[in-house]
C-alpha cells in the first residue's frame, strides 16, 4: 500500500511554530506565544499519533519522497522520509515527551525575559530532531544532527548574559563538532564506496559483505567513525564533558534535549546503522566498551556531585552508556527500549528537579535542601516514581529495560554484565542519595534563603506567585511552594509512563522492532526458555544491587547523615578526585585547549595572520606611500620645472642615440 501520510508535516509543523514565534513573538502576549508553541508541537504529536494508529496497515518500511535535494553525477540525496518501527518509536518519544515538556516550560519559564525566544528555540529543536529521526538518508540525518546541535547551543546559552552559560553553550557546540567530524568522514567513506547515502541503498550494498571479506576494514572504519559522532552527540567517553556543563540551560531544556531526546540521537544513529555495525565486530566491541566504561565512570562521578542537576546530568551520561552497551552487544532493541524508558523517567526526573529548584527559589545545591517532602508532595511523589524507575526496581520502567540490557550483555561477556550491575548499584545509590538529601531530613536552606541567592543557581527568578495555581501569596520571598498545575500535569503523566512504560515487556518490544534489526537478533524460543532460569538469577542480582544502593543511601544520608563526611575525609584524595570529576576538564584544558589556544595565538595569529598576511598588505601599502611621496615633488605645477624635465629627458634620449650611433 502506498498511501501518502504527509510525513513532512511532522517536522515542518514545529518549524512553522518556531518561525512564527521567532519572527513575530516579540510583539505577542505570553498567552499567544504559548498558544503558538503548544499548537504546533501538539499538532506534530497528533500527526505522529495518527500515523501510529495507521501503522499496522502500512507496508513497512514506508518511504515518502518530497523533493530532490542534491544530484551530482550518480550521487543523489533527497528530501525523503523513512518510516519504520524504529523511527515510529523515536517519533512518539520525541513528540510525546517534547509536548509534555513544552507544557511544563510554560509554567517554568513564565517569568523569564525572552519567553517567546525560548519557545521558538524549543520548536526549532523539535523540527531538527524530527528531521533527524525521519530522514531517509544520512545527509538529511546530518542536517538534523547539526540542527539539534544548534538548538542545543541556543538553549544552553539561553541566559547568554551569564558568562558560565555562554561558555557552556560554546563548549557543547565545539565538543559536538569534534564528534561531527568523525561522522562526516564516515559519510564521505560511505559515499566513496557505496555511491549513496540513502539508508536502503547503503544497507543493501553492505548486506552481502561479511566480517571475513575484504571490505571488513572499511566497515570497521565507518563504524568507528560513526561511533565518534555518536560519542559526541550522546556524551560518551571521551566527549562527554559538554553534557554536565549544559545544565546551565533552563531545566526544561535539560529535560528535553539533554536527557530525553537529543542525546539519544547517537544511540538512534548506531541502531539505524546496525547493518554496518553487525558486519564490523571490532567496531561493535569498541561501542560496547565505550558504553560500559562511560556508564561506570559517569556513575562514580555522580556520587559526589552536590548540584541536583549535575547528578542527573552524570546519571544521563551513565544511562546513555547502558544504551551503547546494549548496542555494542548487538541488542539494539534493548538499547532502544532503554532509550524510551529513559526518556520517560529521566525527563521526569529533570522536570521534577526543576520543580524542586522552582520551589526553593532557584537553589540547586542539594546540601541546602532537605525535608521538602511535606512542602511539595506532588513533586515528591512523581520524583519518587522516577527515582525508583532509574534505580531499576520492579515494576517500574527502568527495571525492564535495564535488566534486558544486562541480561543481553551477560550473554556476550560477564565483564560487561559485572560492570553493568555495579553501575546499577551506583545508580541506585546516587539517585537515592539525591532523593534523601532533597526530600527527607530537615530543611537546610533556611539560613540560605534569608541571604537571597536565587540568581546564580539557575537564573530562574524567585517570584512565580503571579500564576501560582495554589496561590501561596502568604509565602515570603524564598518560601517553599509547590509548582503550578501546568508544571505538575506533565510530571504526573511522565510518572505514570515511568511506572507502566516497561510493562510492554522487552520481548514484545523486541518483536515489534525485529523487522528493523532483522529477525536474527531475536532469540529462538527454545534458547530463550533455556535462558529463562539464568535470566531470573541475573534479574535477582540486579534488583539486589538496586536495593543495596537504596539501603546504603538510606544509611548514609537518612539514618546517619554525618557519616558521609567521615567517609569522604577517610578517602581523602580519592574523594577529591571524584568530586572534581577526576579532573577530566582540567586534563582536557591542559592537554588540548591550552596548547590549541597557544598554538593559534603564536602561529596562526601572530605568525601567519599578523606577520604574513597583514604584514604583506601593510608593507605594500606603506611602500607605495613612500614611493609616491618621493615622486609627488615632480608634480610641482611649475611650468619651467616641467620644461626642465622635458629637456632633461630629451637630453637623455639624444645621448642614448648618440651612444648607440657611435658604438
Amino acid at each position: 500500500m502506498t498511501s501518502n501520510l504527509h510525513l513532512w508535516l511532522i517536522p515542518v509543523l514545529p518549524l512553522l511554530g518556531a518561525a512564527i514565534n521567532g519572527f513575530f513573538g516579540k510583539k505577542f502576549s505570553r498567552q499567544a506565544v504559548v498558544g503558538v508553541a503548544l499548537l504546533f508541537s501538539g499538532a506534530a504529536f497528533a500527526v505522529v499519533l495518527s500515523v501510529a494508529a495507521r501503522f499496522s496497515s502500512l507496508s513497512i518500511p514506508h518511504t515518502e519522497f518530497l523533493a530532490t535535494w542534491i544530484r551530482a553525477g550518480s550521487f543523489q540525496a533527497d528530501f525523503a522520509f523513512y518510516l519504520d518501527q524504529l523511527s515510529l518509536i523515536m517519533l512518539l518519544v520525541v513528540t510525546g515527551v517534547g509536548f509534555l515538556i513544552h507544557i511544563y516550560a510554560v509554567g517554568y519559564m513564565w517569568e523569564e525575559a525572552g519567553f517567546y525566544r525560548f519557545f521558538a528555540y524549543l520548536n526549532l529543536f523539535m523540527f531538527f530532531m524530527l528531521t533527524l529521526v525521519l530522514s531517509s538518508n544520512y545527509l538529511l540525518m546530518f542536517v538534523g544532527w547539526e540542527g539539534v546541535g544548534l538548538a542545543s547551543y541556543l538553549l544552553i546559552g539561553f541566559w547568554f548574559t551569564k558568562d558560565s552559560a555562554a561558555s557552556a553553550s560554546k563548549k557543547a557546540f565545539i565538543v559536538n563538532r569534534i564528534g561531527d567530524f568523525g561522522f562526516l568522514i564516515a559519510l564521505f567513506l560511505v559515499i566513496k564506496h557505496f555511491g549513496s547515502l540513502n539508508f536502503e541503498q547503503v544497507f543493501q550494498s553492505v548486506t552481502p559483505m561479511s566480517p571475513e571479506t575484504a571490505g571488513a576494514g572499511l566497515l570497521t572504519a565507518i563504524g568507528l567513525l560513526l561511533m565518534v559522532g555518536a560519542a559526541g552527540k550522546s556524551a560518551q567517553i571521551p566527549l562527554y564533558v559538554w553534557l554536565p556543563d549544559a545544565m546551565e540551560g533552563p531545566t526544561p531544556v535539560s529535560a528535553l534535549i539533554h536527557a530525553a531526546t537529543m542525546v539519544t540521537a547517537g544511540v538512534y544513529m548506531v541502531a539505524r546503522s546496525h547493518v554496518i555495525f553487525d558486519r564490523a565486530p571490532s567496531a561493535l566491541t569498541v561501542v560496547a566498551i565505550v558504553g560500559t566504561l562511560t556508564a561506570l565512570f559517569a556513575a562514580t562521578i555522580g556520587i559526589a556531585q552536590t548540584d541536583i542537576k549535575k547528578v542527573l546530568a552524570y546519571s544521563t551520561i551513565s544511562q546513555l552508556g547502558y544504551m551503547f552497551m546494549a548496542c555494542g552487544v548487538a541488542a539494539y532493541s534493548a538499547g532502544v527500549f532503554h532509550l524510551m524508558t529513559h526518556a520517560f523517567f529521566k525527563g521526569l526526573l529533570f522536570l521534577a528537579a526543576g520543580s524542586v529548584i522552582h520551589a526553593v527559589g532557584g537553589e540547586q545545591d542539594m546540601r541546602r535542601m532537605g525535608g521538602l517532602k511535606e512542602h511539595i508532595p506532588w513533586t515528591f511523589w512523581t520524583m519518587t516514581a522516577g527515582t525508583f524507575a532509574i534505580a531499576g526496581f520492579p515494576p517500574f520502567a527502568g527495571f525492564f529495560s535495564k535488566d534486558e540490557i544486562l541480561f543481553r550483555a551477560a550473554q556476550v561477556s560477564l565483564v560487561y554484565w559485572g560492570i553493568g550491575v555495579f553501575t546499577a548499584f551506583l545508580t541506585s545509590f546516587y539517585m537515592f542519595r539525591l532523593w534523601f538529601l532533597t526530600f527527607f531530613g530537615t530543611y537546610r536552606g533556611a539560613e540560605a534563603a534569608a541571604e537571597d541567592h536565587g540568581g546564580p543557581g539557575d537564573g530562574h527568578g524567585h517570584d512565580t506567585h503571579g500564576h501560582d495555581a495554589h496561590g501561596h501569596d502568604e509565602h515570603g520571598h524564598g518560601g517553599i511552594h509547590e509548582s503550578p498545575k501546568v508544571m505538575l500535569a506533565p510530571l504526573v503523566v511522565l510518572a505514570v509512563l515511568s511506572l507502566v512504560g516497561g510493562w510492554v515487556g522487552s520481548g514484545r518490544f523486541e518483536k515489534f522492532l525485529s523487522p528493523v534489526f532483522n529477525a536474527a537478533t531475536v532469540m529462538p524460543a527454545a534458547e530463550a526458555a533455556e535462558h529463562g532460569n539464568s535470566e531470573m538469577l541475573f534479574t535477582g542480582i540486579s534488583v539486589f544491587a538496586a536495593a543495596l544502593g537504596l539501603y546504603l543511601a538510606w544509611l548514609l544520608y537518612y539514618r546517619r547523615p554525618q557519616l558521609p563526611q567521615q567517609i569522604a575525609a577517610g578517602l581523602g584524595g580519592l574523594y577529591r578526585a571524584v568530586s572534581h570529576k577526576y579532573y577530566i576538564d582540567e586534563l582536557y584544558a591542559n592537554l588540548f585547549v591550552k596548547p590549541l589556544i597557544a598554538g593559534s595565538t603564536l602561529i596562526l595569529w601572530h605568525g601567519i595572520d599578523r606577520d604574513v598576511i597583514d604584514a604583506t598588505l601593510d608593507n605594500s601599502a606603506h611602500g607605495a606611500n613612500e614611493v609616491s611621496d618621493s615622486f609627488r615633488h615632480m608634480q610641482s605645477g611649475n611650468l619651467r620645472s616641467y620644461a626642465g624635465w622635458v629637456a632633461a629627458g630629451a637630453a637623455v634620449v639624444i645621448a642614448y642615440m648618440i651612444w648607440m650611433g657611435t658604438r
Partner: protein
C-alpha cells in the same frame, strides 16, 4: 652654394636659443616666442635637407609645421589672454595651480 653645415649650425643655434629662452624666461609671451624660435630652427634644417637631397617632402613638411604653428599660436594666445584675465599676471612661476 652654401654648404649644408652652415644651415645646420644656424638651425642648431636658433633651436638652442629657443630652448634656453623657454627654460629661463618667466613671461608667458617670451616663452611663446621661444617656442616659435625652436619650430623655425627645425624648419630651417628641414628645408636645408630638402635642398640638399632635392626632395620636396622636406619643404612640404615645413608648410605643415607652419600651419600647425599658426593654429597653435591662435589657441596659445587665447589661453594666455584667459590666464591674464583670471590671474592678472603673465609670470608662469605664479601660475602653478590649476585651481584658482
Amino acid at each position: 652654394m652654401v654648404p649644408i653645415s652652415y644651415y645646420l649650425i644656424l638651425s642648431g643655434i636658433l633651436f638652442a636659443c629657443g630652448a634656453t629662452g623657454f627654460l629661463i624666461k618667466r613671461n608667458i609671451i617670451s616663452i611663446f616666442i621661444s617656442i616659435e624660435l625652436m619650430l623655425n630652427g627645425v624648419n630651417l634644417s628641414f628645408v636645408a635637407f630638402a635642398a640638399q637631397w632635392h626632395a620636396l617632402s622636406g619643404q612640404v613638411f615645413v608648410f605643415f609645421v607652419m600651419v600647425v604653428a599658426a593654429a597653435e599660436a591662435a589657441v596659445g594666445l587665447a589661453i594666455i589672454i584667459a590666464v591674464y584675465r583670471t590671474r592678472e599676471t603673465l609670470n608662469v612661476d605664479q601660475v602653478d595651480l590649476l585651481k584658482l
